[in-house]
């Protein structure tokens, strides 16, 4: 090869090598960046916590209870949640809702209705207020009850698993939340939730769901739904505290969860469910 070509080769070689080395270095740096915090956390004793004034998430393990035998179906919880969390005031987007199960004599399965049912929508005075219509009064009802529902903040949340970006996650104190500035709105999590707890927030164009009022519980308050329930059908508390309402609720009752066969391990514990409850 002549000199010019040789030089060209050397230049090309260096630039290719340089390019490859640079990308390799960048790749190593990227991996290091991912691993470093994990390594750092393991190495140093006082782990970082999010800077929430007066709150250390490592001290809490939140859980929720529902006593479906007490629920009177007044739906104050549904409206309070919408007011507290700016949820869309229409009957198609709920962070929490209540279902009514009515077993009529002679029928094999229960009749179920909730806030999206057209009869109940008609009974409410507006799209943003909710009530159960006075139904089935002429039927032979042999059993009827209400079941409040909300996000179960599962220990193995299917929604967190399927999120492609890491926008939804479970906090160290047990609450599954959504980072509204990072979510791309693909709605895979909405599909994945077996409980129908998630929905698409049309205003923000991201997905949304119950957060156990994280902004309240980190200030020592109760979630809005628990706060307003007049009959203590909803219970909330810290499982780390053996004297909390939820610890007592779980200890004193035979509690069940919804759809245990999914393996999601929900953290909303129910008393008073029935074989008909889905």
């Amino acid at each position: 090869m002549d000199d010019r070509k040789l030089l060209e080769h050397k230049v090309a070689r260096r630039s290719v090598l340089g390019g490859l080395a640079a990308s390799l270095a960048a790749g190593v740096a990227a991996t290091a960046d991912t691993l470093a915090p994990k390594v750092a956390q393991a190495a140093t004793a006082p782990a970082e916590v999010p800077s929430i004034p007066g709150y250390d998430w490592s001290k809490h393990a939140w859980a929720y209870g529902v006593d479906a035998t007490k629920c009177i179906g007044c739906l104050r919880c549904v409206e309070a949640c919408k007011a507290e969390n700016d949820v869309a005031r229409d009957p198609h987007h709920f962070r929490t809702w209540v279902e009514r199960y009515v077993e009529i004599e002679g029928e094999e399965t229960a009749r179920i209705d909730s806030q999206a049912d057209p009869v109940n929508i008609a009974a409410s005075s507006s799209e943003g207020t909710y009530r159960f219509a006075d139904r089935y009064k002429d039927e032979k009802v042999h059993k009827a009850f209400f079941v409040p529902k909300l996000c179960n903040h599962c220990t193995h949340p299917a929604c967190v698993q399927v999120c492609p970006t890491g926008a939804t996650f479970k906090t160290d104190d047990g609450v599954v939340v959504i980072d509204h500035t990072y979510c791309i709105g693909c709605q895979y999590c909405v599909q994945a939730c077996p409980y129908g707890a998630r929905f698409f927030n049309a205003e923000l164009q991201v997905t949304d769901k119950c957060t156990w009022c994280y902004h309240r519980i980190t200030k020592g308050l109760q979630p809005a739904c628990v706060e307003v329930c007049p009959v203590e059908a909803r219970i909330f508390g810290d499982r780390n505290d053996k004297n909390s309402a939820i610890s007592k609720f779980i200890a004193d009752n035979r509690v069940t969860v919804l759809r245990p066969e999914t393996g999601n391990a929900p953290n909303v514990f129910y008393v008073g469910l029935d074989k008909e409850v889905i």
Binding site: V16, P50, D134, E232
Partner: protein, 354 residues
């Protein structure tokens, strides 16, 4: 250096292609580093700063203590009433009916002026006007509601009336009297002059021996005023009373009521053994409005003690038949059998009046 040799000997276009790819890779990685938030991966596969951001929002519901400092009276009524019974797990907090103290809620069909974020600064909280719509959310009898929840069929319980006609919303088993309290008391002396025409049916000194008119002596003054006004406006219709009050002014009605209220009632002539028998009949449901033993009742419900037995019986029958419509009495009247009706009338007729 095999790669280097390989790169050297490969054709120019492939070398340049690889360079292009390498450059693109570097650019891609660099972009990633610039764009991804530094707090990502801090606690897990998410943006660590998001946790504090989510926790940062201001709560809207403030709790009952927030209301107490300015609204001492309703708070006091509430705290001793049946809407505040934490020991049996039943508590209706202020914000359940009035909306979030720290929030704006223009969606309810309540009177609401929302100009600021926090009550009280510029924010009036909702004061439910249509109490039937509010109270029935919890207290309407619907399929599914557990039996331990107090519930009624609104139409049967109160026809078209508002719940607050009888119930103090902050302490519902304390019945409303304030709304019917008199703005001013009448003059007894003037009333005496104006009431001469009344003796024909209501008896001398307001004690009637029997029908057609009831004993008026010692009756609750506000009740009498409201009854007279009801005749005048047509809310109550009676062939004798309606024309009688048609020509009277409101001041005259108030004076007449004051006069009769000031008179002493005497026991109606009723056989005492019948009174004793009647005592155990279903008079208990009456006490919440008519007072214990039919005396000391609320303004909306008259004293019954010492009232003419015939009048009482006739009144109950006219309630039951619908001739005399009343939001509460109609339903109650219908539940009475003839014997029970007689017992109730006897009981109150024989009760001590003051």
């Amino acid at each position: 250096m095999l790669i280097a040799t390989g790169v050297c000997t490969m054709p120019k276009h492939i070398r340049r292609l690889l360079l292009l790819i390498a450059a693109f890779a570097v650019l891609a990685v660099a972009t990633r580093f610039i764009l991804v938030d530094k707090s990502f991966y801090q606690f897990g596969h998410y943006r660590g700063a998001a946790v504090a951001e989510i926790a940062h929002d201001k709560p809207k519901y403030q709790g009952t203590e927030f209301c107490r400092s300015c609204h001492a009276a309703p708070y006091a009524a509430w705290s001793t009433g049946v809407h505040n019974r934490p020991l049996i797990g039943k508590t209706v907090k202020c914000e359940v009916c009035h909306g979030a103290g720290g929030g704006r809620d223009a969606e309810q069909d309540y009177v609401n002026a929302t100009t600021g974020p926090i009550h009280p600064a510029n924010l009036k909280l909702t004061v439910p006007r249509d109490t039937r719509a509010v109270c029935t959310l919890c207290h309407e009898r619907i399929v599914g509601r557990p039996v331990q929840q107090a519930q009624v069929i609104p139409r049967d319980h109160a026809a078209d009336e508002q719940c607050t006609l009888c119930h103090n919303p902050h302490s519902p088993r304390t019945f409303v009297g304030a709304t019917l309290a008199l703005e001013h008391r009448g003059s007894i002396a003037v009333g005496k002059l104006k009431s001469e025409a009344c003796a024909g049916c209501h008896g001398a000194d307001g004690v009637s021996a029997g029908l057609p008119g009831p004993t008026l002596a010692g009756q609750d003054e506000a009740y009498l005023v409201n009854a007279l006004r009801a005749y005048k406006t047509g809310k109550r219709d009676n062939p004798m009373m309606s024309p009688m009050v048609a020509d009277m002014s409101d001041d005259e009605l108030v004076d007449v009521a004051a006069y009769f209220s000031s008179l002493k009632c005497t026991l109606a002539p009723v056989a005492q053994e019948r009174v004793a028998a009647a005592q155990t009949s279903g008079a208990s449901v009456c006490t919440s409005c008519h007072g214990f033993n039919g005396a000391g009742a609320l303004h909306i419900a008259p004293h019954l003690a010492g009232q003419s037995k015939d009048y009482l019986a006739e009144a109950l029958r006219s309630y039951a038949s619908g001739a005399r419509p009343h939001p509460v009495m109609t339903a109650l009247g219908k539940t009475l059998s003839e014997q029970a009706l007689d017992n109730v009338a006897t009981f109150y007729a024989g009760a001590t009046c003051n």
